[in-house]
């Protein structure tokens, strides 16, 4: 829980500690926060970010252990190294937070997001949309004669790129889940 203690044997990414902590460079970090699944826990986390003026780029939450009453909140946030450190320490102070893991420093991790995109169009536009969807490995989960709903999974950047391509082809609506992330390798955070 203590953000001052980096995991023993962490990879070269943990050289974080050696950077000047009060530098002005803004970094993007993905945090995995394991919380007790009590009513209000999300309000505590969001209230912390709002109250102290921290950024939230993306936030997802879902129960991950029903019997243990645990949920996992994945937060993508940005700030200077000092702010990131504060965010982790402040999260660690919340009584119902069990652990805070900074996936960005604790070693390599995988990040995935799911999105649904509604695209309407006719003729060539429609064919081009399907062709691009194929390249991005998006699948069609609903279709009518003038519309598709695509489902795509990938990094947020990949989804951004796909949405950008769909825009001129009749993109009407996007629903994104936000980022889910796990560290690579055998070690688990719970």
């Amino acid at each position: 829980m203590s953000p001052l203690k980096l995991k023993k044997g962490a990879s070269s990414h943990s050289a974080y500690d050696l950077k000047t902590p009060f530098s002005d460079t803004v970094e993007r970090h993905t945090l995995a926060v394991i919380v007790e699944n009590e009513p209000g826990v999300l309000a505590r986390v969001i209230g912390l970010f709002a109250g102290r003026g921290y950024n939230i780029e993306s936030l997802t939450v879902a129960e991950i252990d029903h019997t243990g009453h645990l949920s996992r909140i994945t937060i993508v946030t940005s700030g200077t190294p000092q702010i990131i450190q504060q965010i982790k320490s402040q999260l660690g102070r919340i009584i119902t937070v069990h652990s805070v893991n900074d996936l960005t420093v604790e070693g390599p991790s995988v990040e995935r997001e799911l999105a649904l995109l509604k695209v309407t169009g006719k003729g060539d536009q429609r064919i081009e949309a399907i062709r691009l969807a194929d390249i991005f490995r998006a699948s069609v989960v609903d279709s009518t004669l003038e519309s598709f709903v695509f489902e795509i999974t990938g990094t947020p950047e990949k989804i951004d790129a796909f949405a950008d391509l769909m825009r001129p082809l009749g993109l009407q609506e996007v629903a994104r889940t936000g980022v889910a992330a796990l560290s690579r390798g055998p070690d688990a955070h719970v």
């Binding site: 001052l4 505590r44 209230g47 000092q82 504060q86 402040q90 102070r93 009584i95």
Partner: protein, 583 residues
């Protein structure tokens, strides 16, 4: 063993099991079942305050002067919202208190029921943690966990919101020993970091201990270890407003309080030191002044139990996460094992320098003429009350700062003041909490007239429970601290900073049945103070003082430590010697 009982009974049972002796509260519809239980027992005393804010500050005063959890009990809706200021105050000053609020029955929550407020939502940001208990079976566990959370790690206020049907219903009471929690903050510091600090101490030429409220929070053992450490190393020591008393004011290495209204020698030592050892203080902005000019030449170590306090605004070189007492114990061991080394020659030069700064005598003032100077009033109060078993509370303003400067504290837990939130109206109810905990002690609330009026109704509480609190008002007929800022920073435009239509405080005291004393004559002051001390009952002392006195020294906001305003022309020469100091 789990016993079946009503929720209301569980509340009282849990308080008894946790060793609570007194609850400060105010009844209302949503807590009537609990009040009914309180009526039918005599293990716990209930003090009926006159306003819920008073209940929470009283619980704070009780907690700070005993090291135990202070407990307040209030009703739903307005009772709960009136508790918000006290909760925020306790959060900022790390005071362990438990506030119990009544709530509308579970089946009415969310319907805008009579006296319904979203207490959990409102107090989420001003408690360390809060709970809404919807099942009577969970109440025992929650109550015990609340005590655990309030006192473990960095202490703070917790709140339990209890719907009325949960109080009436019967459930299984979980014993104290059955309490489950995953919250176990780390108390032992990292030994490598402690060794690094011990090494830095051995070679430092200009070290200083900068101590704070965390030493008091950590318990009396921490203060004891601190004293040992200071004596063993002969390093100078200063403290924040919140840490006064952890090291005795009569101690040889004491530099006095630091910060915005701290002593010249303390601030200069902080600015020029080469090793700063922060023990349980949080680099508050009243301390650091301009951040980029804060102690530019020093290596900094910081012992704190809250990771978020470390590297929050000031970068530290040696962070040590842990409890003060635990860390100091290890530090002393390591340092002694290393042969108790310090740079004696460097230290002796450092002390010479500090003694030069002390010659500035930054707290000197002249009591002349027929008007009492507030500093003089406090100097006399100090002289006449020092030998008593004394506890001091304060309100907020100039009087608070003068009290910190002119009174000396020999022990921790003797000084109760609102530091972080700066809550006018804190001191009077806090003095009631302190007096409840220490019925035979001399408890004095040092107040400004404006602050005191904010919770003056509590004089009724003192009368009812025969609490001999002494309310010592330094009456300048001004919102003095505000007036001072307007004088110095807003072109002497005194916008709404005076106290108009003040009551006759003597008559006001008498209206409550208390004793009122007024004094305006410096020559009569000693006798009047003695009369206050010896009177067997609550006293309201109206001390009429100089109206436009300013509180110095002062580091104007945004200035570094060595640009202190001393405000006294006499000290000009000495200041030049001390460096770039503005007068």
């Amino acid at each position: 063993m789990t016993k079946a009982m009503t929720g209301a009974k569980m509340v009282v049972q849990a308080l008894v099991d946790q060793g609570v002796e007194v609850v400060f509260g105010y009844p209302g519809g949503a807590v009537l079942p609990i009040y009914d239980e309180i009526f039918q027992q005599n293990q716990i005393k209930h003090v009926l305050v006159r306003h819920e804010q008073g209940a929470v500050h009283a619980a704070e005063g009780y907690a700070r002067s005993t090291g135990k959890v202070g407990v307040a009990l209030v009703t739903s809706g307005p009772g709960a919202t009136n508790a918000v200021t006290g909760l925020t105050d306790a959060l900022l000053d790390s005071i362990p208190i438990l506030v119990l609020t009544g709530q509308v029955p579970t089946f009415m929550i969310g319907t805008d029921a009579f006296q319904e407020a979203d207490t959990i939502g409102i107090t989420r940001a001003c408690t360390k943690h809060n709970w809404l208990v919807k099942e009577t079976d969970k109440l025992g566990q929650t109550l015990h966990e609340a005590f655990h959370v309030a006192t473990s790690g960095r202490p703070g206020p917790v709140l339990i919101d209890i719907p009325k049907d949960v109080q009436f219903a019967t459930g299984k009471y979980a014993q104290k020993t059955q309490m489950e929690t995953h919250y176990q903050p780390q108390v032992k510091g990292d030994l490598d970091a402690i060794k690094e600090l011990a090494l830095a101490m051995a070679t430092a030429k200009r070290p200083v201990f900068y101590t704070g409220g965390g030493v008091v929070n950590s318990g009396t053992a921490a203060s004891q270890l601190l004293r040992e450490l200071v004596e063993a190393t002969n390093f100078p020591i200063t403290s924040t407003l919140m840490g006064l008393g952890a090291y005795p004011a009569s101690g040889e290495n004491w530099l006095g309080m630091l910060g915005m209204h701290g002593l010249y020698e303390a601030n200069m030592a902080m600015h020029d030191c080469d090793l700063m050892i922060n023990i349980g203080a949080r680099f508050d902005d009243r301390i650091t002044g301009r951040l980029d000019a804060f102690s530019p030449k020093s290596k900094k170590a910081h012992i704190d139990i809250d990771a978020s306090s470390i590297n929050k605004v000031i970068h530290v070189d040696i962070p040590i996460l842990g409890d003060v007492a635990h860390v100091l114990e290890d530090l002393l061991k390591v340092w002694k094992a290393n042969g108790r080394k310090t740079d004696k020659e460097g230290l002796s030069k450092w002390w010479d320098q500090i003694n030069e700064w002390k010659k500035v005598d930054c707290l000197s003032f002249k009591q002349e003429g027929k008007i009492i100077k507030p500093q003089y009033a406090l100097q006399r109060l100090e002289a006449l009350t020092k030998k008593y078993d004394r506890y001091i509370t304060t309100e907020v303003g100039q009087h608070q700062m003068w009290a910190a400067q002119y009174l000396g504290f020999e022990d921790p837990n003797r000084w109760m003041t609102s530091g972080g939130l700066g809550t006018m109206g804190y001191g009077h109810p806090a003095s009631i909490g302190v007096q409840m905990a220490h019925p035979d002690a001399l408890v004095i609330n040092i107040a400004g007239e404006a602050s005191w009026l904010m919770n003056m109704q509590e004089l009724g509480t003192s009368m009812q429970y025969r609490l001999n609190t002494k309310q010592f008002i330094l009456n300048n007929e001004r919102l003095g601290m505000v007036r001072q800022w307007q004088e110095l920073l807003h072109g002497e435009r005194y916008s709404s900073s005076w106290s108009e239509s003040l009551p006759d405080f003597v008559k006001l005291a008498e209206a409550f049945g208390a004793k009122g004393i007024q004094c305006h004559d410096p020559d009569a002051l000693d006798d009047a103070i003695m009369e206050m001390i010896t009177y067997d009952g609550p006293v309201l002392f109206d001390c009429l003082v100089e109206k436009h006195e300013n509180c110095f020294p002062m580091i104007p906001s945004g200035k570094p430590h060595n640009e202190m305003l001393l405000g006294d022309a006499d000290t000009k020469g000495a200041i030049k010697a001390g460096g770039a100091v503005l007068v």
